[in-house]
Amino acid sequence: MKHSTFLLFSLPSLSVMFLFIAIPIVSVFIQSLHIEHKQVIIVTENCDPFGCETTTSVDTEASAKLKEKAPLGKFNGFKTYSNRMHFAFDELGEAWKSSDSFTVFVKKLYNYPLYRALSFTLTYTFIVTPFVLFLGFLVAVGVNNLPKMFKGPTIFASLLPMIVTPLVGSLILFWMVDGDGVIGATLQKIFNDNSLSLKASPVLTWIMLMVYGIWHLMPFSFIVFYAGLQTVPQETIEAATIDGASKFQRIRHVVIPHLMPLAIFITLILLMDNFRVFEPIIGFRAEAHATSISWLIWNHLRESAYPLYNAAGATSMITIFGVAILLLPVLIRTWRDFKEKNKG
């Protein structure tokens, strides 16, 4: 294909990407560099049915004038990135100096929202991703070996966790793991401990969130692997069988190499999805024990009276960089394979 033809061909999608992806990202970045103008505060006497109190109010006229001059807000540079809400450089310096061992330092690190969120987000990503990949593959192989008449219904049932909206799915589970719920009460009975609560313990909350994540995402890897299994060349399988390969050897040496590009694709998508884990934390009301990067963005914007656009913008940029760093090894590998193939 000629270069100019290719360019014309991809122009529509490129321009849409520019309009709806590139420009918003740049605007979010610019927003993250600005903070609100100084509010002009006046002391006022407020009276309500219960009495009068001296409090403060915003002088809206004076504040509006400031806003009109520079609608973007006050330029703040990268201070939003370095302050306590994000990388907390100053505080970490202090903590490093005042800690006598690395474990004490890590414990202090955990006190800052970004690091706390990162610790859960990364743990979640690196545990859920391999489990989903592996279990999805097992289910796909299992379904592929079923008699034809059972395949349809089994595929449908296996896809259900993906079809259920994450928020609804997690909410239903939240009720089930309650002390009065089916799962919660059963666990209490099994361990003979009436105060056992999946919601009160940090470790159990983390496990619950990850089990939920695996349950919810497995259908995705299953269905992609299942589609891939339909393309495994039967001649190679037959040849391997004639050579005396066992079932396991056929999967290990024929099927898995054939599905490798798919596995890389699924890994990429899963890493991205898991790094942005959000709904289960809301659904399970797990904020006390587990927060994620996406939850932080939501938290910055949650109070409509005081939306911290700069903090939300900064956390969003950090998310984008985080995803880029996560994907880098996989992308580099793909690029190398691609170049090698072209050489051959």
Binding site: E36, F50, T60, R84, E287
Partner: protein, 413 residues
């Protein structure tokens, strides 16, 4: 012919009667649009405004949503605003005033508000900014039968007495976790701290400035009280808000509760619970600290406001319609839906807790412009202390640090 005449007479008399007895609805043919939260008392006010004045308005729209707080600023900022009136509470009035989205009501009160009581008028710097119609606050709920069975004398009036009563109930083997409180991470847990901190006589900010001042002996004492209470609260307390605590209470799984007054009517009615629970549930004042006199609660009011960014005649019609509903007849018809501030209210058992708390001298929820930011910081940072992984001083200094960062970004410091 006679039939036709009869119909005509009927119409004429109908026309006269409706125009004679109708409330004063202000200018005709205006559009009235109301944004409000979603609970029975607000429906009662809006219903009576609608039945009085929808006829003379060109449109009468109501949007009742529990998420009103989240959308009101965005909805009211454009000119013309999306709603001509927002029904607010203490904190949401501040939220709107911070952006200049409500107008002073002095002239409208003079014209249409003859029947309002003076304590319904919410004034900021001498200007009337809202008309309150109901009060609310947190207070104590207790089960007489369980307290009696476990040998507790009288009603616990201080936090220490609550804690020792809870211990007695636990020791008697009746309940392992006799307390319920709204401690869900975020707004709720922050609000519990606010109430107990106020009971200890604490101040949230240095006088005249937006600098937080909670990391002090009173703050630590408040946290210690909170921790002692939490020992006796349901294991999952960090996930529980009003609906959950109400559910536990109605299921008979709690003996002492700190819940909202607005839940009183719902808990005491004969739906969703057993007679054993409802007949033994009594609502009383929020406790004080030992030796103190301020009940651990924040008093709230709900009231109407009028938008800045609407035409004067729309504002007038909306105001006239809404205050036309604030009559003793409306109160008589909906007496148990709220603790009404309007004439004609007869306090029933469901109102006892809020009345006692207000009479005990509880403080209003503070109306500082920057209060929401501090409340947020409290909601996020106290959890580590309650889980036991942090000291009280550390938790409070974290709250101040988080507040400071957010307040700087939002321009308050």
């Amino acid at each position: 012919m006679i039939f036709k005449k009869l119909i005509l007479v009927g119409f004429i008399s109908l026309f006269f009667s409706s125009s004679l007895y109708a409330a004063d609805c202000g200018p005709n043919g205006q559009s009235i649009r109301i944004l409000a939260s979603d609970f029975p008392a607000i429906h009662a006010i809006a219903n009576s405004a609608e039945s009085n004045c929808a006829g003379s308005a060109s449109e009468f729209n109501r949007n009742h949503t529990t998420e009103a707080r989240q959308i009101m600023n965005a909805a009211q900022t454009p000119n013309p605003a999306e709603y001509t009136s927002v029904i607010v509470a203490n904190s949401t009035l501040v939220q709107l005033m911070n952006d200049g989205l409500v107008r002073p009501l002095d002239d409208l009160v003079e014209k249409y508000g003859g029947h309002l009581k003076s304590n319904q008028l919410i004034t900021v710097d001498g200007k009337i900014m809202a008309i309150a119609f109901m009060a609310n606050s947190q207070h104590m709920y207790y089960r007489t039968d369980i307290l009696e069975k476990s040998g507790v004398d009288g009603i616990p009036a201080t936090y220490d007495e609550v804690i020792s009563a809870a211990e007695k109930i636990r020791a008697a083997g009746i309940m392992e976790h006799p307390l319920v409180m709204n401690l869900k991470v975020g707004w709720n847990v922050g609000e519990v701290f606010n109430t107990i901190y106020l009971a200890h006589g604490g101040e949230f900010f240095k006088p005249g400035s937006a600098e937080a001042s909670i990391n002090n002996a009173k703050g630590v004492a408040a946290l210690e009280t909170m921790k002692a209470l939490v020992e006796y609260a349901h294991e999952d307390h960090l996930t529980q808000a009003s609906d959950d605590t109400q559910g536990l209470w109605e299921a008979g799984q709690a003996a002492i509760g700190f819940m909202w007054g607005s839940r009183g009517g719902v808990i005491l009615d004969n739906e969703g619970s057993s007679a054993e629970v409802t007949s033994n549930t009594v609502l009383s004042a929020a406790p004080t600290v030992t030796g103190g006199s301020i009940p651990g609660a924040t008093l709230w009011w709900d009231g109407i406001t009028i938008a800045t960014n609407v035409s004067d005649s729309e504002a007038e019609a909306t105001f006239a319609a809404l205050v036309s509903g604030m009559t003793s007849e409306m109160v008589a018809a909906n007496n148990d839906d709220a603790i009404w501030l309007i004439d004609g209210f007869k306090p029933g058992p469901a109102a006892a807790g809020v009345s006692a708390t207000a009479q005990g001298g509880a403080k209003s929820y503070p109306m500082f412009a920057q209060m929401g930011l501090l409340h947020n910081a409290l909601g996020a940072e106290l959890v580590d202390f309650l889980k036991g992984s942090e000291s009280a001083e550390q938790a409070l200094s974290d709250v101040e640090a988080v507040y400071e960062t957010a307040a700087k970004d939002a321009g308050y410091l």
